[in-house]
């Protein structure tokens, strides 16, 4: 039953992708991209990747769409139709697709328990996580500790994007640009405002739940950061940019980003000082298992802070920018 559903979802995915290419209205394309991400998240869920599905839904379908829309508001809404250059693109793409489909015939079939990926590293993780960390979510264990260095890198990717957007949009907009504070926000619309005010606390609460429940269920710092950020973004959409910046000022956001990144790195350095390797949380406490738990809790907090602050900074950088007249 679920397989038929998966086939259906995958077909929808292809159709959505084709529709995105064909539409000339960028606004429509962005909304379709959001749907595409949501379908992708559903597919991930069917394939047992709950954490990834949550992230794709929060980041791909949520935050990405908002950033796209705020960028579209600053540029143009329609694309020009150009037909030149289609043929070489088609050739490149056809070669690529053939190559990949050629490669698939030797791939292990879906769900094959004897596939190499299920034989080598994964059993070790599944076997040792309960013993070494004593919590159920193996994804969090791999993310936070076994491959914690990747996650550190990931935090710094987000950090790079944040300072990059601030740096690139830090240039004064061209003369004649003006920012109309009334144009943003749905202040005059009673219904969205009332519902939004009702929901925002629960969104933030849910974000905190996801943050601190990551060891036990799907979730963790990234998802939590994205969820909390989306709560604040909703506030900004309802009450206007200025109100959102009053509630959570830019300096606080920068503090979150810098603090989160430094918290993560600081935990790693502390491990060196206590005689372990970088990010070896076992040395944090006398009991290695609680050391691991404490370490993962701290770094997940760092990740959540950094991601939330960075996504909000990026959003504000776009949304508060005056429009070229």
């Amino acid at each position: 039953m679920i397989i038929i559903f998966a086939l259906f979802l995958l077909s929808l995915l292809v159709i959505t992708a084709l529709a995105i290419v064909r539409t000339e209205n960028l606004f429509v394309a962005v909304m379709l991209t959001s749907i595409f991400s949501l379908l992708m998240a559903a597919n991930f869920f069917i394939l047992d990747a709950a954490d990834v599905a949550l992230t794709e839904a929060a980041v791909g379908a949520g935050i990405t769409t908002v950033i796209f829309l705020s960028a579209l508001a600053l540029t143009a809404q329609r694309e020009k139709v150009v037909t030149a250059g289609r043929r070489p693109a088609l050739v490149v793409v056809a070669v690529l697709a053939t190559l990949i489909i050629y490669a698939t015939f030797d791939k292990p079939r879906l769900g094959d328990p004897d596939a190499p990926v299920h034989q080598h590293l994964a059993p070790w993780y599944l076997e040792n996580t309960p013993e070494l960390m004593d919590f159920p979510n193996v994804v969090t264990a791999v993310l936070g500790s076994f491959r914690g260095y990747d996650t550190l890198g990931e935090v710094f990717v987000v950090f790079a994007a944040c300072i990059g957007v601030l740096f690139i949009l830090g240039v004064k907009p061209p003369a004649g640009s003006r920012y109309n504070p009334d144009s943003s926000g749905l202040r005059h619309h009673l219904i969205p405002q009332v519902v939004g005010r009702l929901l925002i606390p629960f969104i933030v609460l849910f974000g905190l739940y996801v943050q601190f429940h990551g060891e036990y269920g799907p979730g963790g710092g990234f998802q939590a950061g994205a969820l909390i950020a989306s709560g604040v973004i909703l506030y900004a959409l309802l009450e206007g940019e200025a109100a959102a910046l009053r509630a959570v000022p830019q300096s606080v956001l920068m503090g979150l980003v810098v603090g989160g990144a430094c918290l993560y790195g600081g935990v790693g350095l502390l491990c060196i000082l206590l005689g372990g390797n970088f990010l070896e949380y076992s040395v944090l406490l006398s009991d290695p298992v609680s050391g691991q738990q404490l370490g993962i809790l701290l770094i997940e907090a760092g990740v959540g802070m950094a991601v939330c602050g960075a996504l909000l900074s990026i959003f504000h950088a776009f949304a508060a920018r005056p429009m070229r007249s």
Binding site: V14, V59, T104
Partner: protein
């Protein structure tokens, strides 16, 4: 060929098709925002490939419940990798959009051919 096997191939084919659609958009379209949308589809396709290989027949998400015996779990590692890759993708996208906004401010257009003509 049972249904799961078909789905296995179907997943990879969808991966190949979506990947091609994304790359085609990046190469053939001249609108910069459209190129970025294509780029994000292109990356999503790769996520699908990774997540496809993590599935184990009869498995569940890798969250180990205590006291339940003989559970089969899907592979946690590709999931971790793709969590990272999703965040990387969104970061690239944000940066790209910031550049597009600046290009529009400097040139008054986001069509690649018109920008090339302007210089």
């Amino acid at each position: 060929m049972n249904l799961l096997e078909l789905l296995g191939y179907f997943n990879y084919w969808v991966f190949a098709i979506v990947l091609s659609v994304g790359l085609y958009t990046v190469i053939a379209k001249v609108n910069l925002v459209k190129k970025l949308i294509g780029l994000s589809i292109f990356q999503s396709a790769v996520f699908l490939m990774y997540i496809t290989m993590d599935k184990v027949e009869g498995g569940t998400a890798p969250i180990i419940q205590k006291g339940v015996e003989n559970q089969v779990f899907s592979n946690p590692l590709p999931q971790v990798l793709i969590l990272t890759a999703i965040v990387v993708g969104v970061s690239t996208l944000a940066l790209g959009l910031a550049i597009v906004v600046r290009i529009y401010e400097a040139y008054g257009t986001i069509e690649e051919d018109e920008i090339l003509d302007a210089d």
